[in-house]
Amino acid sequence: MKNIITTILLLVATTSIFAGGPWPQKKGKGYFKLSEWWVVFDQHYTDAGRIDPNITTGVFNTSLYGEYGITDRLTAIINAPLISRNYNNNLVSLTTNEVLIQGESINTIGDIDLSFKYGLTSHSNFPISISLLLGLPTGTTGGGTLGNLQTGDGEFNQMIQLDAGSGFKIGKTNAYISSYLGFNNRTREFSEEVRYGVEAGAGLFNSKLWLVGKLNVIESLKNGSTAESVTSTSLFANNSEFSSLAIEANYYITDKVGISVSAAGAIRGEIIAAAPSYSFGVFYDMNK
């Protein structure tokens, strides 16, 4: 279940025609976003893919996301949860009204992702890029009295990803579609993962409002450890996987500054939260 928390962070990824996808930033340009992302869940998908209850758990991340063009083809990307909060509710007896298990919380920095994206094609109508992502275990694991609170998964991971997409017009409306395929190699006996997804967006009102829809999938290779193969008291669940749908709206308040809202939820999963996640952010886009 620890993975429930860390994996659901992936349900919403910052992407638009100006950030993410196969499009590198131009040299000296960038895209930055300060956002709040959260999920509160009292049920989860089990290893059989069914939904079971759990004590209400919340994760709130205040994150800084940034892309910056080092060259026209090479972009550096950081996704840093500057404040990550994980809590469990109190468990209270309905019969006696006594608190049976005290709720707890931790507030720390979360796991930071650093990545570099390189555009394999330049000035193409069908851009393709390759990315290397390094997931740094800067968050906390094993927090709280029972060791069940976390703001990171405690493992270093490296993911290589291919992105491809295309920008086009529907009448006078700018639009795009992109997809990705990645392989995530994880340490500390976590299962490796294949990740893929597709998204499409359209810029309305002279591209002041971008509406985006996404499908993200993580397939676990289930080649990591389980409670049986490591210590029996290990808190590390493994083999989480899901398919999620997300919708996102980005609205430019000024030429460069805008707000972003999104919602995402798993439509299928194993060992993952069965509740929607939300985000709200303010972005600064140097490309406009």
């Binding site: 290893d47 059989a48 939904i51 509710n89 209270v92 309905l94 049976l100 069940n148 409670a227 029996s232």
Partner: protein, 224 residues
């Protein structure tokens, strides 16, 4: 102005993450149990019975009890549960408590014979899942010197997907509050056993399996 509102909204969202209460329905019918019943009491011998009362959440409470013998000519019993075999025959031994205007009585038939004979030394049950996680198997609990042995049968299976799966003895199938933690589950398939010291056969009603870190009940087995 719009940007200020957006940043203010960010702050509000980030602060709206307080710990609240989850409620669990942990009511169980109160139980009065004789801890050390016997089948036969030897003539002219005495035997100290004891009882335990478990309240409506399965927690032990010390409350005053009344002991009675239906045939005082065969067995006499004091108010602290000390029985004396006076003549050959049978008598119904009863213990009663009064908890919050609820009279609860437990009784059993006791024979006076040539020597004292212990009661049952073995109980059993079936572990079943109460979740979507795999958990099943039979078990037998045997009284041993200084404690009990819980023997899980070879038809036992448990999911390895949950971290921190623990096994408990409890008198409430829905809560580990007040339960005796036996320890972490280390075997997920096949026969194995647990030795639990300072516990007798009649102390608990359920085997419980909980994912301890996340307080998820996985399954249980009623001790019959």
């Amino acid at each position: 102005m719009k940007l200020n509102i957006a940043i203010f909204a960010l702050l509000i969202i980030s602060l709206n993450s307080c710990i609240e209460n989850d409620y669990i329905d942990d009511f169980v019918e109160p139980v009065l149990r004789i801890n050390n019943p016997i089948d036969t009491l030897g003539i002219n011998e005495s035997y100290q019975f004891s009882k335990t009362y478990f309240n409506n959440v399965g927690l032990q409470e010390n409350i005053e009890a009344t002991w009675e013998s239906s045939n005082e000519n065969v067995i006499s019993i004091s108010q602290d549960g000390l029985a004396q075999a006076l003549s050959l025959g049978n008598s119904l031994i009863s213990v009663t408590v009064n908890s919050e205007d609820l009279l609860l009585t437990t009784s059993f038939s006791l024979e006076v014979g040539s020597s004292t004979a212990e009661s049952i030394q073995k109980v059993s049950g079936v572990i079943t899942t109460t979740s979507s996680y795999v958990l099943e198997g039979d078990f037998i609990i045997q009284q041993e010197q200084g404690g009990i042995a819980i023997n899980i049968a070879d038809n036992y299976k448990a999911s390895t997907a949950l971290p921190g799966l623990f096994i408990y003895l409890s008198n409430n199938p829905n809560s580990v509050s007040g339960a005796l933690e036996i320890g972490p589950v280390e075997v997920f398939n096949g026969a194995h056993s647990y030795q639990v010291d300072n516990v007798s056969l009649n102390d608990f009603s359920y085997l419980l399996y909980f994912c301890k870190p996340f307080n998820i009940k996985v399954g249980d087995g009623r001790i019959e």
